[in-house]
Point group: D2
Chain length 289, copies 4
């Protein structure tokens, strides 16, 4: 990954494959004074889909930031029926954290936030428990307690959505938030809700994966970060990792080892999201690294 | 693992946990002149089951090899309702290889055999195709071609069992043998048929795991070696390993990466089997390393 | 690892190998009413050294906790010239944290401490900078600022040793503490100072391993946790782990990936130390897992 | 990696970074009827060097294969002072294998060759021992025995070079060839001699890395594939991988585990070389994956 002092733009693109796509995009950038820093492109030959991530230096670029999208749509994207996203290196996205009682992923994210590891703003934490309130507040982040029951679920989700709007939230991280979100809620943040599942999906979906893994006698356990979709535990996978276990490991040992895995896998997924390395196509992610 | 020039014995034991098991076993060995080289013991506290692998030098042991089992059963095992196996370091087990058309696991095993990596004898190869005949025969191993169809399955399995008897086969390795064995066949070799499955079980069981993995968009693929049981792909797992894949990997790339994984995972499983490191309990393996 | 509600004891032992060691130890435990939960033993045949970790339930043990050591020394250990340590499962060791300016390992340890992941007390943090003071104090841990220069080094180390005594510290964790400790300091805490080095030792010792790794063009970077010894970066290795890097990774990318690795490797080393899984022999660790 | 039935070309390029490189290359391909299948580009911002791997479909390309190099040099490369290589997907490179007595890497390569895993021709095997002669000849590959001593080294190397010429060898794989090549020999095949070293370089260079690793008490061992250069064990690293070891592993165990690692790491390096994924710059490799 390149690092430059000056501002850069990133385009994430996918479209039906055909001749002339690369040349059109690179021409658009070069002819208007952009210097390409990074270009990763490939064609899914089976599906005949073109994917690209391109990043260029804006120092001498003649189109104003606010106009780049419009120009690109008009001059390039429309012609190739492109799906595209435009991002700028100086953007600071706003993240909301959802958490329940398990602290490990939550603490890890707060520590990274405090250490300045990520270019992000976390103005809001929502929880169905109060366990994390102290930790949230001592870092000066607003903590909203919204307890959930079968009766109040719709009402509380409505409040959550209002809060997300009010705080101008760009994306949500579910840091072991042990509640199922409604389809309606998820539809409001497509490919913008990052979840961590405590198994190597699609193995062991559902609520007690470490118990199932122990029962099955696997030699390796995993964790999976994915974008939440309406169907549980089947959203596009962003990142996975694994750790060895042995017959001597109890379920508790697996949970302990899994905790460390979960927080690392979730952090890597958030990092990729923040760096605009992710593109979703047909329920799978393209991860430009 | 210890290596000693002189001969040693290995006991693999499991039984209901209770006080005095370790002392009884170590007394049996010590009082009869054995020097303990290696002892690995643990208790599954959930199931209250005791597991042990103990290896001792036979140099000054006063009980003759052929009598150790009887004495141990009488003096120790019966009292604790033990399941036990006794092995000697100078045994050379006899392996039969089953193979179809895919060569990678098969070649890998033959290469290890030729290089003398394993203490094993391979007198017999059985296949439902003739592709591997040349490779088998140039290493001087008998190759028996038994083509399979819906009609002749029972008859051919009968022949296989006769061959296994005739060649005094101790255990079978399915080196990507793409045929389902009957329950009867498997019952003849309990915990003695080692299979390799080309996925990270229990994810993607069945016939085309790489296609399913590609479809699901996982970031890691795996391979699983297990003892074959009557129910397909659900036998006790011996060894698993994984490799990273990316969105750029086609199904063919996954198959290529998976091939290397499969042959390593199968080889490690066979090695553990040969070294008497494996014990099966309630469809899970205990792997003493 | 077994988990039992009742109290257990752990013996870590090494001594010259000879016949009768295992039987003597297991007899000592069994005859006095102990139930062995876990036993891991092996012989380094090259050096002829015997190693054991044995854990037993104290529920019906007839020797009082405070007398076990004396009895074991008299009845067993002296005879075999054993080096041994005795630990109890209800002990809560006292850790001091040394930190400089880099927060990632430090925050990770505090998060685990707050979440109750470890059975440990952290009463004291010492730093040559004030950056971590706020984080330390909000968790109610005493923070002592002891700035270091060439002139005051001996004097400040003297104060550190006094503080460690005053706070009854059992072991020290150097959470990226970027100062070299004197031989005298280290001699006060043999095998009780855990350091994290940001490379895959013995590759890239010294101060700027990520720069060296980048320069050399390695494809994998690592982190190493070891007990500090008088000679820098050469103490007994407790734990290591690695992560892949590519030609596209700048030194900054390596530092970022390495941060995550360092905190995991250090945490695993501390966990092993806390669980009495570690034994040091001839500058190498035996890690019972 | 994309696979297409029709023929494609690959350009590997590096040059000083400046504006307009990407557009010039993509224009050259597009305007002449090429369809870009795969493009991976990045800038080393520290060294200000531009790197690219670009692959395009030749189906409608108007420049004849034999002329592409000349046209590209004239129209694009010269202007940007490019270093470039041009490859075609239907080329079958010719590999020579050098081997001594250790069979594992050698057998693994022959097995892949026989199974048709690689698009390569292996017409020649050279060895300073006769151990591998039978295995070589039964696969119909010419085996030349050139024993080496202090006295005949120069003379034998001369013969080797003649053989390599005679057999029109494109690149050499040292499959645990335990002899040091002269500078002159290496100069004849720059970045075309692939070696496997049995350690995680730069840790443990030299002849007995597993002994050194055991002595040092590392928890992970590795293997490194690199292009041979005049200075021993310091050539550009192509691929590395690692495996865990424990205190229970003897040197022999490390050698056994290392064998499997070595053959996999070497095979991956050869695969990358065959697929034109490798570019060498300032003693480091760029690996396009």
């Amino acid at each position: 990954m390149n690092n430059t002092a000056s501002k850069s733009a990133v385009l994430l693109i996918h479209c039906p494959d055909q001749k002339g796509i690369v040349i059109s995009i690179t021409e658009f950038i070069f002819k208007n004074g952009g210097n390409i820093l990074y270009l990763d492109q490939h064609v899914d030959t089976e599906r005949q889909v073109f994917f690209m991530r391109i990043e260029w230096d804006l120092h001498d670029f003649v189109i104003a930031d606010g106009k780049i999208g419009e120009y690109f749509e008009t001059l390039v994207a429309k012609r190739f029926s492109m799906n595209w996203q435009l991002h700028f290196s100086n953007e600071v996205p706003r993240m909301a954290l959802f958490v329940s009682k398990q602290p490990h992923c939550f603490y890890d994210i707060l520590a990274r936030y405090e250490a300045g590891e990520w270019q992000v703003e976390i103005p809001l934490i929502i929880s169905n428990h109060t366990d994390m309130q102290t930790a949230a507040e001592r870092q000066g982040i607003d903590f909203v307690y919204l307890p959930l029951s079968a009766e109040n679920r719709a009402e509380q989700e409505h409040k959550q959505l209002e809060l997300l709007q009010e705080y101008r939230i760009d994306f949500i991280v579910l840091a072991r938030y042990m509640q199922i979100l409604s389809d309606n809620f998820i539809d409001n943040y497509p490919d913008r809700i990052i979840n961590i599942h405590h198994s190597f999906l699609p193995a062991f979906p559902g609520a007690r994966p470490y118990h199932s893994a122990h029962e099955r006698g696997v030699k390796i356990i995993g964790a999976t970060s994915h974008y939440a979709t309406a169907e549980l535990d089947t959203g596009p996978i962003i990142e996975q990792d694994v750790v060895r276990v042995s017959h001597e490991n109890s379920v508790e040992d697996m949970i302990r080892k899994g905790r460390d895995l979960e927080k690392m896998v979730l952090a890597r997924a958030v990092w990729h999201h923040l760096h605009h390395n992710l593109l979703v196509y047909e329920n799978r992610t393209v991860v430009f690294e």
